[in-house]
């Protein structure tokens, strides 16, 4: 074998030796993946309920009316959260607006609760649940002393809070 032939052979061996470990090393690769889950609390309400009191039985207070056209949904990955509600301004004298939320699995509804500027608890023990299509029933009560009240609105603010 000539000098140049031997040199080419040795170069080939060296290059093969250099490439071989790359192939061997690449047969196993590792990657570290970091993940986390933050606290998630979401509520949503749909619908625009409307209530009008129009009748009464003689000798009794005007008849209450209800509206159950709205619905609500909740997602929380925490435990023992609660749903509260409030309205920005008080109802007119003699008029009471109440709401009753259907409870998601494992939670407890307070049934009809009058709405006020101060927050009121409507559903408690809401724990790690994702559920929609739950009932929202509003009720409007009036005394005769309320008189005639022109169409008014209140925005009800619902909040999920207190989860741990």
């Amino acid at each position: 074998m000539s000098y140049f032939a031997r040199r080419r052979c040795l170069v080939a061996i060296a290059l093969f030796g250099a490439a071989l470990p790359l192939a061997l090393q690449a047969q196993t690769a590792t990657q570290t993946v970091t993940f986390a889950v933050n606290a998630i609390n979401q509520v949503a309400f749909v619908g625009s309920p409307s209530l009008t009191i129009t009748t009464a039985i003689a000798g009794s207070a005007p008849m209450s009316v209800t509206d159950a056209t709205a619905s609500w949904a909740v997602t929380t990955n925490q435990s023992t959260a609660k749903i509260t509600a409030s309205i920005p301004t008080a109802m007119p004298a003699g008029l009471t607006l109440s709401v009753n939320l259907g409870a998601p699995a494992g939670a407890t509804s307070a049934l009809f609760k009058p709405l006020a500027v101060a927050s009121v608890d409507l559903v408690t023990n809401v724990t790690k649940v994702a559920q929609g299509g739950m009932s929202v029933t509003y009720k409007l009560d009036a005394t005769a002393a309320a008189g005639v009240i022109t169409s008014s609105t209140r925005v009800v603010t619902y909040t999920i809070t207190g989860g741990v």
Binding site: Y3, R6, R7, L10, V11, I13, A14, L15, F16, G17, A18, A19, L20, P21, L22, A23, L24, Q25, A26, Q27, T28, A29, T30, Q31, T32, V33, T34, F35, A36, V37, N38, A39, I40, Q42, V43, A44, W72, A73, V74, T75, T76, N77, Q78, S79, K128, V129, A130, Q131, G132, G133
Partner: protein, 145 residues
Amino acid sequence: MKPRVLLLLVAGVLLCRSSPSGAQSLPNVGPMTVNSASAGTQPNQVTATSFYSSILILSGQQRVIGYLNANMPANTTLSVKLTAPSGGTSLGNVNLDTTPRDLVIAATAPFFTNVTILYTFKATVLAGVIPASSRTVTYTLGTYP
């Protein structure tokens, strides 16, 4: 033997040394944080992408196998999808755990020149709140079929 030839041989031998573990470390991924949801539905999944490129000396077709060093927390899943423009068949999103699972089959050398690694992290509400945690994904090559 000529000194230049000897030098070349020594260089070749030195280049032959491999790392003790023989494993290549890919860049870290994450944190992948689940932090949102639409009311009434499970939390939104999050994804992260990594890339891999290497020139491999392969004989025949290979499979790519992946597994974790520890299982994921309850009610969470970490899946991975390896894709490349050519040279192999991705099995799509594969949930990872401590059991080695096929991710790619019929892979040839061109596959490894341009690999996209897509991770997807999912958590249901039952998972609760999970502080930052890590898992090591190990990828290995195996003969195919």
